[in-house]
């Protein structure tokens, strides 16, 4: 397992790096609008009515962005959580913590594909 993790590390690091870069860039407007402006009434709720949201989300660009919005933060989160746990004395645990966290990110990414196709 350790050997497999070492082999996959460049890929995981790339996903993590994009998770920080693109994930942060994409999440900022999502959190601003969907997380705060619409719930607080600053933006009218019908901006993301079911019809409009479906129209946006079912466009190919919309599906790709939504995929990125789900998958990239998951990989960034999983990788950073792994490092946080190691920093708090978890080097020995890492053998099973790392695969668990990355599996969670992988599973979430797969579900993301299903989710965007379902729109």
């Amino acid at each position: 397992m350790k050997h497999l993790l070492l082999k996959l590390e460049p890929l995981i690091w790339l996903l993590f790096g994009q998770g920080i870069l693109l994930g942060t860039v994409l999440l900022t407007p999502w959190v601003l609008v969907v997380g705060l402006a619409i719930p607080l009434g600053i933006v009218p709720a019908d901006a993301l009515s079911y019809e409009r949201a479906t129209a946006l989300g079912s466009h190919i660009i919309g599906r790709v962005i939504l995929l990125g919005l789900i998958a990239l933060p998951l990989w960034k989160g999983a990788h950073h959580m792994r490092h946080t746990l190691i920093d708090f004395g978890g080097a020995e645990r890492d053998a099973w913590v790392a695969p668990l966290l990355y599996l969670l990110a992988a599973l979430g990414s797969l579900l993301a594909v299903v989710a965007v196709v379902r729109i």
């Binding site: 070492l6 590390e9 460049p10 890929l11 690091w13 920093d87």
Partner: protein, 250 residues
């Protein structure tokens, strides 16, 4: 008082493996001069107060890398740090993250092993014959790696790094910076060999970019830059391996 003298209290970590179960602290009152560095006070303690104190030092001018210790909780070269910046009490302890041999002396063997592991020498595919003359390198080519060649192996970066503290196999800032220095050298042809080390058990990807190594480096080597550049180079090498498979590579 003349010469700007005053008394400062030095709380020094002591450890004698023959007498002490665990390290302990011992306080010394030292009449310090205003222009003294921390090392001057330690040498005064050894010369005038307590000859049993053990500490490493050599050049007194921040080039040999011998005198690294924790001063008020920060890894510092004791020959470089002026006492005037500290208050009435100064705490001196051995470098964090290292096994302690005695008092302020840490075991450096682990560090030496990590240094050697990155193959810190020019690697050529085929050794150049003496008759072919010297290799030529332009100032621009030198500039690409010069910063990373300024390391004095003082180990302060290892003391500051949270990954070194928690992952024993991690190669560490200075060693990765040194390996990267050689991979960037225009005379070197060993980048692939070093990338294999960088992706091995001591993997560069363990670095979580705390940047503490660069914060404490007394020579502005910026090892954090080297480590993260090495990550990118390792990824490029890995990706290129799919497009241009090397013979004998896995």
């Amino acid at each position: 008082m003349s010469d700007g003298q005053q008394n400062k209290t030095f709380v020094v970590t002591r450890f004698d493996p023959d007498r002490d179960e665990v390290p302990r602290k011992q306080s010394y009152e030292v009449p310090v001069r205003s222009d003294w560095k921390v090392l001057d006070a330690l040498n005064f303690i050894k010369d005038e107060i307590d000859a049993t104190l053990s500490h490493r030092w050599s050049c007194r001018m921040a080039v040999c890398g011998s005198c690294g210790m924790m001063v008020n909780g920060e890894p510092r070269l004791t020959c470089k740090e002026a006492l005037a910046q500290y208050g009435d009490t100064v705490e001196v302890a051995p470098l964090a993250n290292f096994p302690v041999v005695r008092d302020l002396v840490v075991e450096a063997d682990g560090f030496m092993e990590k240094l050697t592991s990155v193959k810190p020498w020019i690697i050529r595919a085929k050794e150049r014959a003496v008759e072919e003359g010297t290799m030529r390198q332009s100032p621009a080519e030198l500039e690409e790696f010069k910063q990373f060649s300024m390391c004095i192996n003082c180990m302060l970066c290892y003391s500051a790094c949270p990954v070194v503290a928690n992952e024993p196999k991690f190669i560490g800032p200075a060693a990765i910076a040194l390996g990267h220095r050689y991979s960037l050298d225009s005379r070197d042809e060993g980048a692939a060999e070093r990338n294999a080390v960088f992706r091995g058990e001591g993997t560069v990807f363990s670095c979580s970019f705390a940047n503490e190594c660069s914060e404490v480096c007394p020579k502005n080597v910026d090892p954090a830059a080297a480590v993260n550049q090495a990550k990118l180079n390792a990824v490029i090498d890995w990706a290129a391996g799919f497009v241009l498979p090397r013979g004998g590579d896995e």
